[in-house]
């Protein structure tokens, strides 16, 4: 969301835009910015932004090739099972949701015309008229009821079962009206419905070898682990429809290979490039970068019910021993924002700005470890490629520990099976949490006493009651107050150290226009296919 570069102000943005209008070359612009004291590695991001601000009118036609970072035989067209970025991209192209989040994180209507509630408990969803599926069927309330109910059926294997569970009843009022009843009031429902898993499929669909949705593209080819091809849907309900004639999407897991494919012109979009590739991409003409900080983070979990996390002072010591600035600068090359040990990112309006990150203070950490009687002991820390950057973070902690006589034994384990074997289980391990649209979802999934993924086994009855109280409040200011206090509780009491929020940088061909940042993630919250166009 935010594009923070030190020493860079709105006035500088204007200067660059003016320079572009005057026809300045890229080299001149770089000199301009270097003179202004902006690091060269960051300047590409600014160019990209200034460039998109000058975007021309969309061009119809053309075919786009784009690459994500992962793809496997587990790729799916079933929105309920979607788990990787590639799945989200496909779902966004072939299906629609009731709502979607705009670039400021506010829910907007898509298949729904309106979603209203008086008490935040019983919600009335009115559907848009005249929307058709790819096979010609007209969208009706039965499709929405079917799509929602699937998440409640264990046999579906829905990823959002734990969130969908609060919908106690989903029923059709008439052909275009659905009533959703919640177990407890929840003012966030429109935002929840914007999650990728809540895409609407046709009533009775069980076969997901081809996609039958209402989306801007029809599914032409779907080969799991290989590629997907979408063709422009001529009958799309949004006026104008997609700009592209077709798009092809696949995963190239190798960081360098993905960037190289973009530089050679084989693809026009390379998602999530490695921070260290920026210097390379910068030096090439015809490529721009798009940065998003959406609240994805890699965190160090210390279980409060196991040694050493149960020793008073240990967790606080680790939080002071994590050199956040070094993690941000060296491990992530600036593509991160220093975090304050709680999961609500600055991209959210509920982020507590007054809660400062714990300072890097090895002496204080040493005193705390001494008090806990842990100095000199070897403490295992489990890290894996599965949790992005965790090995680098572990090594930075390890080195800081060496200097005060603490021995952290970094154990690199396979990414294969990491989530079922080590995550939540080892006494001290890393996790990686994807962005969620609301603090309520984050807290209920990760910090409530009965949370399914309570990473550090943090239990606080006070926290639980605050969570329920805030959920039913339609008054945003009051909610913010409660959420602020909850963030302080997490930062001080939970065993989860969150050193930085990670940024995502997509590299795109300068010919690709219309890509904007989105709080749901990179590639425009994975929905780029519908909105972008290719300049001739």
């Amino acid at each position: 969301m935010t594009d923070k570069v030190t020493n860079w102000t709105g006035a500088d943005d204007a200067m660059v835009e003016n320079a572009i209008r005057r026809g300045a070359t890229r080299r001149e612009l770089l000199q301009l910015m270097l003179a202004g004291g902006v690091a060269a590695s960051a300047s590409g991001l600014i160019l990209g932004r200034a460039g998109s601000a000058m975007a021309a009118t969309p061009v119809k036609g053309g075919s786009l090739k784009a690459a994500g970072w992962s793809s496997s035989t587990a790729d799916t067209l079933d929105p309920a099972k979607a788990s990787l970025s590639t799945d989200y991209v496909r779902c966004c192209a072939f299906y629609n949701r009731l709502t979607y989040l705009d670039k400021t994180g506010v829910p907007q209507m898509e298949l729904a015309e309106s979603i209203d509630s008086k008490d935040a408990k019983v919600w009335i969803v009115k559907l848009r008229k005249g929307v058709t599926f790819h096979n010609g069927k007209t969208l009706s309330s039965a499709d929405v009821v079917y799509s929602m109910n699937r998440h409640l059926d264990k046999a579906t294997g829905s990823k959002v079962n734990s969130i969908a569970k609060q919908m106690t009843e989903i029923k059709a009022i008439d052909d275009l009206t659905v009533q959703i009843t919640l177990a407890n009031p929840n003012a966030d429902l429109p935002t929840i419905l914007a999650m990728h898993h809540f895409m609407i499929i046709a009533d009775g669909t069980t076969d997901f070898t081809k996609a039958n949705g209402t989306g801007a593209f029809t599914c032409e080819v779907f080969e799991p682990g290989a590629r997907s091809v979408g063709l422009r849907n001529a009958n799309y309900f949004k006026s104008g429809g997609a700009h592209l004639d077709s798009f092809e999407f696949f995963g190239i897991p190798d960081d360098s290979a993905r960037v190289n494919a973009l530089l050679s012109g084989d693809i026009q979009l390379a998602a999530a490039i490695n921070p260290r590739s920026i210097r390379l991409v910068e030096s090439q003409p015809g490529v721009v970068l798009s940065k998003t900080t959406s609240g994805n983070y890699t965190n160090l979990n210390m279980r409060l019910d196991m040694t050493p996390g149960d020793k008073a002072g240990f967790i606080e010591g680790v939080k002071h021993l994590l050199n956040r600035e070094q993690i941000q600068k060296s491990a992530l090359r600036g593509l991160a924002e220093v975090a304050n040990d709680q999961p609500v990112s600055p991209a959210s309006i509920y982020h507590n700005k007054d809660l400062k990150p714990k300072a890097f203070d090895p002496d204080k950490a040493k005193a705390l470890f001494q008090k806990a009687g842990l100095i000199g002991q070897s403490i295992p820390v489990v890290a894996s490629e599965a949790a992005g950057s965790s090995i680098d973070m572990a090594m930075i902690l390890q080195q800081a520990g060496t200097e005060i006589g603490m021995k952290f034994d970094v154990q690199r384990v396979p990414s294969d099976g990491y989530w079922s074997n080590y995550w939540l289980k080892a006494p001290m391990h890393f996790g990686n949490i994807n962005p969620r649209p609301t603090p309520d979802i984050l807290f209920s999934l990760l910090y409530a006493s009965d949370a399914p993924w309570n990473e550090s086994q943090f239990k606080s009855p006070k926290f639980d009651s605050m969570l329920i109280e805030a959920r039913g409040l339609l008054d945003i200011a009051k909610r913010k107050e409660i959420y602020n206090e909850m963030q302080v509780m997490i930062a001080d009491q939970a065993g989860t150290a969150i050193p930085v929020y990670l940024s995502n940088v997509d590299a795109i061909s300068a010919k690709l226009k219309g890509l904007e940042a989105n709080p749901l993630g990179g590639m425009m919250g994975y929905s780029f296919a519908e909105y972008v166009w290719l300049e001739a």
């Binding site: 496997s72 190289n260 989530w419």
Partner: protein, 316 residues
């Protein structure tokens, strides 16, 4: 002689079936031993105990693993390789197009690398100790000691990013002319040839030199045979056994071992499929891939053994 070979082939076929069964069971046992199952992998971070139980029941994974294995085994005799757990598609459909891709890549690589490697190995042996021999040694070891991902990435950087002569990705489905074929396969084939040639060059050289030292070849030398004749006529046939074995071992790498090339060039083949299958604990897919690799491997080494026997009159 022919009958001897025929008997050998028949015996090997029978043993091959047994080997396949053993490998199949070992792979099955290994997969079951691995922590985590397909349901936990599919649900990932969303794998709460009740969600796991629900999906496991829905996917009929509650039957004992050994029973599912026996069912799968029974299925292959009727030509049914089962349904992938991960995406509900028939395994045969998943493997089919990718196997064709893999075989194409392996075939082209074989055609390119085997003649070159054998020629280099034999000539190096012929002029053993010369500058030519030494440079072949240093080059072949130097090349094979560069990690595969580095060879591939360097090639892409030079030929695709800077020179823009070749595409960085290999889209096998976009080949219509011979020129396109060359462009698409050039880099993957060169990378793979780098990897597998060293073994063939070195082993050929060593085996030929070794036979040059045998009394029988020394005799020919005394009789005044030329160096070329000595190597081609006398040493080579005797060295053929070890050479074809080295070739077979090298080629066996081309199906299951090319994961890096498949990943970097985005070439959908069976190696990536197998790695995916292991990651998702997709038993029918793992089994079928493992069988496939095993069959190819057995075919290669059995061919090597037969050539070895035919080339040595004393073994017939």
């Amino acid at each position: 002689m022919n009958r001897h070979v025929l008997n050998l082939v028949l015996a090997r076929l029978m043993i091959a079936v047994i080997t396949l069964l053993i490998v199949s069971f070992t792979v099955f046992a290994a997969t079951v031993l691995l922590p985590g199952d397909v349901v936990e992998v599919l649900l990932g971070q969303a794998a709460t105990p009740e969600a796991v139980a629900g999906l496991r029941a829905a996917m009929h994974l509650d039957d004992p693993a050994i029973w599912r294995f026996i069912q799968w085994l029974g299925g292959i005799f009727t030509g049914d390789f089962g349904i992938s757990y991960a995406n509900n598609m028939p395994v045969a459909d998943l493997i089919g197009p990718r196997l064709a891709n893999s075989l194409k890549l392996a075939g082209i690589t074989t055609l390119v690398s085997v003649p070159v490697a054998l020629t280099l190995g034999i000539t190096a042996a012929m002029w053993r100790g010369s500058w030519f021999d030494r440079s072949v040694t240093i080059l072949s070891i130097g090349i094979v000691s560069v990690p595969e991902f580095m060879v591939a990435t360097s090639a892409v950087l030079v030929f695709a990013v800077y020179l823009k002569w070749l595409p960085a990705l290999s889209f096998a489905n976009e080949i219509h002319t011979f020129g396109q074929l060359l462009r698409v396969y050039a880099m993957p084939v060169i990378t793979l040839s780098f990897v597998i040639s060293a073994q063939m060059i070195r082993m050929t050289r060593a085996a030929v030199i070794d036979t040059l030292n045998t009394p029988y070849v020394e005799m020919a030398l005394l009789k005044g045979a030329s160096r070329k004749r000595l190597v081609l006529k006398h040493a080579l046939p005797n060295a053929l056994g070890p050479i074809v074995n080295a070739v077979a071992l090298s080629l066996s790498y081309l199906l299951g071992g090319v994961i890096i090339v498949e990943t970097i060039f985005n070439y959908p083949g069976v190696a990536k499929l197998m790695v995916d299958a292991v990651s998702t604990r997709d038993l029918p897919l793992i089994q079928t891939c493992a069988m496939l690799f095993c069959i190819v491997y057995l075919f290669l080494i059995t061919t090597a053994d037969i050539i070895a026997i035919l080339s040595n009159p004393r073994l017939r």
